[in-house]
Subunit: 273 residues, 4 copies
């Protein structure tokens, strides 16, 4: 009896923690509360860095952090406890272990790291900033609720090969352009074009067309090379953009479950093609 | 009899106020006159800000404003009076109320606001500039006459979901990039990268590839992060552009009412293909 | 007899002046000579402006100009004389008059203007530079020989409506963005954002993503507005680019005379669809 | 017998030198070793230019260079010796001569040039840097192993005509824009817009939207011209990018050997659709 009641409880907790089905009020309220809490976290991370605000609202920021950590910890533990309600993670030990390594569970864990890491292991003062930086990962807790993140993830997965091929080309061109520019421009501007890695900063700014203007060729040879590279190379750097765009279109089409544009049966004998 | 004549008048006024049918000379003349007046308004708003011109042509500018307000007011009142001639707004009270909240009627109202608002409610001197700024909304009075505005409106409507999904991704990436860059670059450039909101200005300039050059990373770690973000992130920021472009193509195709590119039946034997 | 021989001569001159048919050696030699002369003209126009070269090679430049004018004049007169050999311009007077107003003939005339204009009418010293600038139009004499120019011309013709619609949107957005930015930023930077036309220079640099960095918002409100305009507006400015690209693809497809992807006959009764 | 054994050896050496078939361990190990060596070369070329590292690791860099030259030389000679195992290069003299002029063999030769050239012919001290620059060509030795290079090569081949047509337009516009801008802006900024070639640097930076900000118009006429050129011309400069992108899509489709999207016959009744 007790076992059964616990099982039912666990299933209910599981349902509430998961993204709500239409009509499940408790789960909807939980989702919205957690969403608000995550967004509040992102706002706090952002505003904490504004000098005037830190001194004035320090207490609020600290309260928000403590509340968040408490709720995120409880949420994480409840997820581990209740995950066995899902068919994929039924085994009490192995299922939970498997659950711990799902992307969403890892994101939840990393969102807690900035608080628990310094408590568990002594952290060098120099790494404190890096540990605090880990809090930005709380952004990805949103991926449970917004399809933008899932769409992006799916695109990166389905277009992985194309992206790798183009990124190889992008890095090859970047290296080639920067190396040639270094040899041409180094004498004229020994500081800005100090070495090839430094010249790559020019390469990135040019080939992405950002063009901050902190570094640019001044010699005639350098400008000719820079012009040729710009005109011919920008197309290569735009390839990942194009791949992403076509992946996005395909992914949205898939989500809309568009009927196949081709007829699925032969118009004469009526049999499937 | 009097009622009937009034009704006919009202219908005629309505026809003249609406975009002209081919052959309706009076309506065409009204359309062109109003178009010229609106464009004159935009020119005046623009030239008023040029110092030399303001002192020299102040009188002309003021005359133009007074004439515009008078005509726009009469136009607005006539539209409300005559709108009952349209099937959608037949009811003398409810129809007119419904008409008042159509987008075009709201635009017409807002175009009058900069003149009437200060007369109706006492306005703080600090808001005078904002009220004057409202005059730019007169631009949208053009939307009655140029299909560009309608095309854009339709695209935004038909692609709303896609744009929202990508804008979520855009803002997510912008926040993530700026937060990481702030943590890396703040110590080296405490003024330019003063806080995360300020760093977002760098993020926008970089990811849109505008790259003014007023703010850019100078540390090695910052430049590596900036390069990776540029190469990978620009594609994400280009997604709204791509959506707009494909929406535009679809919208123009719709307007051309292209016959379906594949005839569904053979014109000779009548059988479906 | 004399009339007939003259007619044959005229036809032959016409053939030589026109773009050569395969196998017509004399015409090919003429085409290549004229092409080289035009390109030499462009090189001279370019190099004349380089200070060191002008003093050193002044004589060569002047010789080139005189030779060019002579040849271009003879070419122009021969074209007018021989054009009656073409079916479209057969009438000795009306045909030639019609020919004079063809785009290519107008280009040929304008290429001569910088030399003959100052001889025909007294030209103010201030306009000398403008008249010299007209020499750049000799570039378009190349359009007879390179399909790039014809392709571009055809695209602009076939996509005129789409380009006009988007350019209206582009200018509307540019005006709106610049006007709002002026009202927000003028107080903080009264010199850079001096008036709305000046602010439009910022608008163009931002919305085209060129971003020279000579003018950019510094206030928080200005940066927020600038960010929103960048993220949302760049897509609008990219529309003409997309139209040009799709027009280019269509035009090249047309030139390749690709067989229509649809079958042109009904597969059952064999009759044309 | 000896001849036959040698022949078998030669075939085996050929197999090992070529990109490995699945299952050929020796060939795989050779491929990976050479790949690592090439990448190490690129890293050394890059890091050599960093001042701190050169003094510290000079010996390592020199060892790497010597080892690379030795291995690349042996590889090159073995390739020439064994190439007769391939059907295309069977003839002991003519086949090898033909092989020497294949793109990959030329790349291998040029990768050796920076070492052997100064030994063979006395090289002016001024050209030493240029000869060292030739080492960057070792990058292309990677093209044997990465399909990115082959994909790019194929795209450039299949889209050659389109790219030439657009590049002609690109250079025409660049020249026209720069020449006009020079005539307008030269008086106001005699240094930045010193002559037409110098103004072309502005043209490239603007039309590619890089916009470093080292040179931009300041006069009203120059800014108006610059705005018009930006808005209208960027589309032309984006055409090569679009061609590259569509070529990339087509090339990847070809590699995937996608079945024709429309079956041409019904699989059941066999009649053409």
């Amino acid at each position: 009896m007790g076992g059964k009641r616990k099982k039912t409880w666990r299933r209910r907790v599981f349902e509430i923690l998961e993204v709500a089905d239409a009509g499940d009020r408790a789960s909807q309220i939980f989702d919205i509360s957690l969403l608000v809490l995550i967004l509040a976290n992102l706002v706090v991370i952002t505003l904490e860095t504004v000098e005037g605000l830190t001194t004035q609202y320090r207490t609020y920021f600290e309260v928000c952090e403590t509340v968040s950590i408490t709720i995120f910890t409880i949420e994480y533990l409840l997820r581990i406890w209740s995950c066995t309600a899902a068919p994929d993670f039924q085994h009490p030990v192995l299922g939970r272990l498997k659950f711990l390594f799902t992307p969403l569970a890892l994101i939840d864990l990393m969102a807690l790291a900035p608080f628990y890491l310094p408590l568990l292991i002594p952290i060098d003062i120099r790494f404190i900033r890096f540990v605090r930086l880990l809090r930005v990962l709380r952004l990805f807790k949103l991926s449970r609720y917004f399809q933008s993140f899932q769409v992006l993830g799916n695109i990166l997965k389905s277009k992985r090969d194309e992206l790798l091929v183009t990124l190889m080309g992008v890095f090859g061109l970047l290296w080639l352009a920067s190396t040639m520019m270094y040899f041409i421009e180094h004498d004229a501007q020994p500081e800005a074009f100090a070495n090839i890695p430094a010249t790559m900063w020019w390469g990135v700014a040019t080939l992405t067309t950002v063009g901050y203007g902190d570094i640019y060729p001044v010699t005639t040879a350098g400008r000719v090379l820079g012009s040729v590279i710009s005109i011919l190379g920008i197309g290569l750097f735009a390839l990942p953009t194009g791949i992403l765009a076509s992946g996005f279109t395909e992914e949205l089409d898939r989500r809309k479950q568009l009927p196949s544009p081709e007829p699925s049966t032969c118009p004469h004998c009526g049999k499937p093609l």
